[in-house]
Symmetry: C2
């Protein structure tokens, strides 16, 4: 199926509060755990989502609308958030993500996208031709993927603690990684 | 690592509000979507979590503490919630889950579990000998697994809509299923 703008926006609008409820008030052991060295902790995921709001989604939508395929998107550094999150509390990061997302959804509304505009095309530096509709669907699925990552990374701490129940908990055997 | 009671309770306490934020106010297309016939929709997951609060976790903890290995747990029907959720709104189901979880955490506190008691054993009808600590770790990981399932099932609706970005969204290629 194709992306449906209002449906996708409903996801984008709920993600900050979903992640806030997931992480807010949890012991830091859950916030900073990771599956393996070099993979994202829940805190890192939050940084990565913030960085996407700052430099990725809306700038790419604008490039598609203003320059089409002629101007490839800037590559996105998946770990470009490191400096930004250093020394910040989880509360600060959650507030920043929520504020940026709210602002970006306002910007998206201001673009007054009509269904036909979702077929407009741009150039991804690695993937080639993509449409604005695909970008918006990806933005929403990217949120969902990182929520899944947060809970997967957290669950991994108890992979041994569950004992024989591991056989019934497939989340414990999803391959680790940075998404 | 072993389960840590307070850490696990922190997860158990946040799950109802996390899932509420994830689902509350979303268009019904997201609430009722499923990966394939016979698999859980987000609404079904909520029913399954409610049923676990009603008949699974606390009753099993009590069996371990009161009867040990001599009395195997009752088998848990993963789809035993169907009748309960029929005709109920998502808001009602979210409220029921939140209320039951709150009550069960009070019951858990009332058991005044000491670390040594987490080694007490019971008999799972299929898995054999399990400990109370494993039961509690499983309760928390089970929550996380079903949050991951909800977002995975939702993301699957846009598996095609993301176009070439699918290569960067591994959540779209996790095998489907009822957990």
């Amino acid at each position: 199926m194709e992306v449906h703008l209002e449906e996708a926006k409903a996801i984008l609008a709920t993600t900050p509060s979903s992640i806030t409820k997931l992480l807010d008030g949890l012991p830091e052991v859950w916030i900073d755990c990771r599956e393996a060295p070099g993979t994202f902790s829940p805190r890192d995921v939050l940084g990565h989502l913030i960085y996407g709001e700052q430099v990725d989604w809306i700038p790419r939508a604008r490039i598609i609308l203003e320059q089409g395929e002629s101007r490839p998107f800037d590559p996105f550094d998946r770990a470009g958030f490191q400096q930004f999150i250093a020394g910040k509390s989880v509360d600060e990061l959650l507030a920043t993500f929520s504020a940026l997302r709210k602002e970006n959804l306002k910007t998206l509304d201001a673009l007054k996208l009509q269904p036909a505009m979702l077929d407009r095309t741009g150039t991804h530096p690695a993937l080639g031709r993509v449409t604005l509709g695909q970008l918006i669907a990806t933005w929403a699925v990217h949120d969902l993927g990182h929520i899944a990552q947060i809970v997967r990374v957290m669950s991994r701490r108890y992979r041994d603690a569950v004992g024989p129940w591991r056989a019934y908990l497939p989340i414990l055997d999803i391959p680790s990684g940075n998404s």
